[in-house]
């Protein structure tokens, strides 16, 4: 029983990382008022770009993941152009970008033969003596670099949003672009920076799935994790720390499925696969019931394009 729990708990962090990274990226963008549905697509772009760099140049896995971040940020410029400059409906633009990315990554992976090629990827780092502590060692101190980096990243995003001038501007633009504009903050530029920075994190989430979790590229390999991350943002009520906690919850649900089978518990295999999605739906329902009549923490201008000269 102890081994079951230790192996289960030890796999949670690496399954939680993609959710946490993607949710943080989305929080940055949505706090600035841009409803970002592109996560599923940008994660694919991040994943494919990192795999492509890894297979072509064989660099350090971390360098490959940086490439994934850059690629996702680059594609997000297209999304920014559509929703910030051209004021396209953010839902439509997000969905089209996801569709575009699915097509693009599948096409490129196919044309260049990157599909289904295994590589060694990102391995765990043992923290010396700490890793040898029974029970706690394997759970906390035999993880990869990104898992350890998650704590400063979550802290950094939270600090940026709540404690810096840039964060104040970003939130002002998301809550009330008219007020922010009158104050002299450039709404378009702030939103653009927020979406680009957020998309880099979403790209890192995708790169992590490819380089650290699965260690191979397959079409549509994110299998809905981008959508779960969007739900996670609602669950976290746009707060980075709550998003990290939610990511751990979703990671633990995803981690328990293969462990149950390994422990000899026979359950309908395919119905079991629905658990992450049903759990997400359950969480959404729970959040809705809790906040049915209370204040919602949704940014005031979420999803609304800003036009200074609009007649209201």
């Amino acid at each position: 029983m102890t081994t079951f729990f230790v192996t289960w708990l030890a796999t949670i962090p690496q399954l939680a990382v993609p959710y946490a990274l993607a949710a943080l990226g989305l929080i940055l963008s949505e706090r600035a008022g841009v409803l970002n549905l592109t996560a599923e697509g940008l994660m694919l772009v991040g994943a494919l770009a990192s795999v492509a760099v890894l297979l072509t140049f064989r660099p350090d896995p971390l360098v490959a993941m940086m490439a994934g971040m850059l690629a996702a940020a680059a594609v997000s410029v297209l999304f920014s152009f559509l929703v910030i400059v051209l004021r396209v409906n953010q839902v439509i633009a997000g969905l089209v970008i996801v569709f575009f990315c699915q097509g693009l990554t599948s096409l490129l992976g196919n044309l260049f033969g990157w599909t289904s090629k295994a590589f060694s990827g990102l391995g765990p780092v043992s923290l010396g003596v700490l890793a040898d502590i029974p029970v706690i060692g394997p759970i906390l101190f035999r993880q990869d670099v990104i898992v350890y980096l998650m704590i400063p990243i979550v802290f950094g995003v939270s600090y940026l949003l709540q404690r810096t001038r840039l964060g104040l501007r970003l939130r002002a633009v998301g809550e009330s672009p008219e007020a922010a504009d009158a104050m002299g903050v450039s709404v378009s530029m702030t939103r653009f920076l927020a979406v680009t920075a957020g998309s880099a994190l979403v790209g890192l989430a995708g790169a992590y799935i490819a380089v650290a979790n699965v260690k191979v590229w397959i079409d549509d390999m994110t299998s809905g994790r981008g959508w779960i991350a969007i739900a996670l943002v609602i669950f976290a009520r746009w707060n980075p720390w709550r998003a990290a906690a939610g990511a751990l919850l979703f990671g633990s649900i995803q981690a328990v499925i293969p462990k149950l089978a390994a422990a000899g518990i026979v359950l309908p295999q395919y119905l079991l696969m629905t658990t992450p999605y049903l759990a997400t739906l359950g969480v959404m329902i729970w959040v809705s019931i809790r906040h049915l009549n209370g204040p919602s923490d949704e940014p005031g201008a979420l999803g609304q394009p800003y036009v200074r000269e609009e007649r209201r």
């Binding site: 569709f99 575009f100 196919n110 002299g184 609602i234």
Partner: protein, 385 residues
């Protein structure tokens, strides 16, 4: 959070009127622009020529970019027109394939267009298609009813299952205001695994492959004497029915009201919630019919890959058609030409099928971008010296 913003407003109070803000800001910041700057306003209405110009410009851009991408992956430039026009519309075999492919695309396009009319983002078309296929297959497996009534029963079962599946996100949205974008997308994955559960379990064919036993001859959608598939007739009929619903019926009037301003509609005592629920059920039924049409008209059994891509195609068709049923049918037909051309490109030049998806995305992106010109007026504010 609220405090920060009101603080920001207070600090900015000297500059009030939006029009002066532009100039005042530039001066206040000490940035003397020489010429002026771009200003963007929302138009009250756009003239027909402008709309036409924007659409034409968008299509030229989108198709131009797509052609460029195709040439880049190795299709000879001179044969592009051949592959997309002559080989699809003028070749009788391929034209028949276009018509067969058009039926489910029309149905999913209608499904999306209807749901969007009441501001319900139905992204669960694929899940509803799956349950449509499951419902139809259930009737086939249980041999329900006499043979002559089998097909109508399968259609009825498909519609029931699809509508029931669609009612989940609809009720969640109406009762608990759960965001339907996320719930419908998540339910797609659930539906997919339920399908796999059936196909790898109880419904597995005797040949050992994960698909249902083949439908009997009486369970396949036949062709009419003219060679047109019944599925296309069904899709055409649904287009007319939806046109009636939208343009002529009381429900259509309510729909327009709900979409224009749900708050006012509710205040005036219109049954907003029931209206939304009804339309989402219609949308789910249409998607389920698409599932039935693909299973019974093309595959001849329930397979595990009869639905992918239709969901997004439906959404894109609905968007391009501006939620108009007849326009949706036309766009679906064009989309079908694209799909068949894509299949030919795959056979002759080895272009992966994802290329079609990319082209769809690029065209829709261009059209969405062109709306900017229709919705906004851009002009140049000149500063006087």
């Amino acid at each position: 959070m609220r405090d920060d913003v009101s603080d920001a407003t207070r600090r900015a109070s000297p500059i009030d009127t939006a029009g002066n803000a532009v100039i005042a800001k530039a001066h206040a910041a000490g940035r003397q622009r020489r010429f002026g700057q771009i200003s963007i306003e929302v138009r009250r209405s756009a003239s027909f020529p402008l709309r036409l110009f924007a659409l034409a410009a968008a299509l030229v851009t989108g198709l131009g970019l797509s052609a460029f991408a195709l040439i880049l992956v190795g299709v000879p430039a001179e044969s592009l027109a051949d592959e997309f026009v002559s080989a699809t519309i003028l070749d009788p075999m391929n034209f028949k394939a276009v018509l067969v492919q058009a039926a489910p695309l029309i149905l999913v396009g209608l499904a999306a267009a209807m749901a969007f009319r009441v501001r319900f983002w139905n992204l669960g078309i694929e899940g509803q298609m799956i349950f449509g296929g499951v419902g139809a297959t259930l009737v086939s497996l249980l041999h329900l009813g006499p043979e002559w009534a089998r097909l109508p029963l399968m259609g009825l079962a498909a519609v029931t299952c699809g509508a029931l599946w669609a009612s989940i996100p609809a009720l969640l949205k109406l009762r608990l205001s759960v965001n339907e974008i996320i719930s419908t997308l998540l339910l797609n994955y659930v539906a997919y695994y339920v399908l796999l559960h059936l196909l790898y379990g109880a419904w597995k064919d005797e040949d050992g492959f994960p698909h249902s036993p083949a439908y009997a001859a009486s369970e396949l959608l036949p062709n009419l004497d003219s060679g047109v598939s019944v599925s296309l007739v069904l899709a055409g009929g649904m287009t007319l029915l939806m046109t009636y619903l939208v343009a002529r019926s009381r429900a259509g009037f309510y729909m327009r009201f709900v979409s224009a301003n749900p708050g006012v509609a509710r205040a005036l005592g219109l049954p907003v919630a029931n209206m939304v629920l009804f339309v989402v059920l219609v949308s789910g039924s249409l998607a389920a019919l698409a599932g039935f049409v693909v299973s019974s008209g093309q595959e001849g059994r329930l397979t595990q890959s009869f639905f992918p891509g239709y969901g997004v195609s439906g959404v894109l068709i609905g968007f391009l058609a501006r939620n108009n049923p007849v326009a949706a049918a036309v766009v679906a037909l064009l989309m079908s030409v694209l799909v068949i051309a894509g299949q030919n490109l795959q056979v002759f030049y080895g272009i992966p099928p994802s290329m079609v998806q990319l082209i769809q995305a690029v065209v829709v992106m261009s059209v969405a971008a062109s709306d900017f010109l229709v919705i906004h007026r851009v002009h140049w504010i000149r500063y006087r010296a």
